[in-house]
């Protein structure tokens, strides 16, 4: 069965500092990996996704993530955070694409707090 581990429940970062959120996955075949962000009062929004090819993927809002198969990781990074980045971040894995089923398994999330 597929699973996702986000080891950091809560991270606090100063505005302008760099950010890395950790994600480890378990999946038997080549995974499809995603990062979603959830802000208060808003639905989950896709930041970026990895399907194949270049292991460094760029997303919206200046985020990027690197797929490392040897470490079963897909960490999210941003060189300089902004106060508006404060939110809950979820890593997810999918791969059961029978008939286009994009069923995802989510991690428990990392809550990001930004301090001035």
């Amino acid at each position: 069965a597929q699973s996702v581990t986000q080891p950091d429940i809560h991270i606090t970062v100063s505005e302008g500092a760099s950010l890395e959120l950790r994600c480890n996955y378990s999946y038997g075949a080549t995974p499809y990996l995603f990062w979603y962000v959830q802000s208060p009062g808003q639905g989950l929004q896709l930041l970026l996704k990895y399907f194949s090819g270049d292991t460094l993927v760029q997303g919206i809002k200046g985020f990027e993530a690197e797929f490392k198969r040897s470490q079963s990781s897909f960490n999210l990074r941003k060189p300089s955070v902004h106060w508006s980045d404060a939110a809950e971040y979820f890593c997810a894995v999918g791969g059961d694409y029978n008939f286009g089923n994009e069923k995802l398994t989510f991690g428990t999330g990392t809550r990001l707090t930004i301090i001035p």
Partner: protein, 113 residues
Amino acid sequence: GAGVSQTPSNKVTEKGKYVELRCDPISGHTALYWYRQSLGQGPEFLIYFQGTGAADDSGLPNDRFFAVRPEGSVSTLKIQRTERGDSAVYLCACGTSHTGELFFGEGSRLTVL
């Protein structure tokens, strides 16, 4: 509207009651998903529709939960004999096949007293 609409946004009910939660997806998105998000957890898959049919209902926790999508657009999640453990945010998402991106609604927060 342009996004996924879920109603009600909040529902408070008593243990044992019946509840319906509605999802109105983005027009033309054939795939529709229901997820449940408990406090402090990530979303958990419940059921997936492709068109009108439930293609994968392996995430439904028990037979008190049922979902329909009769015309391939709006979907309703139905919960019978609600229990306190059913309290959670129920999320609806839709997508087009094979793009890998799901579009989520803001969710329906269910509280069972």
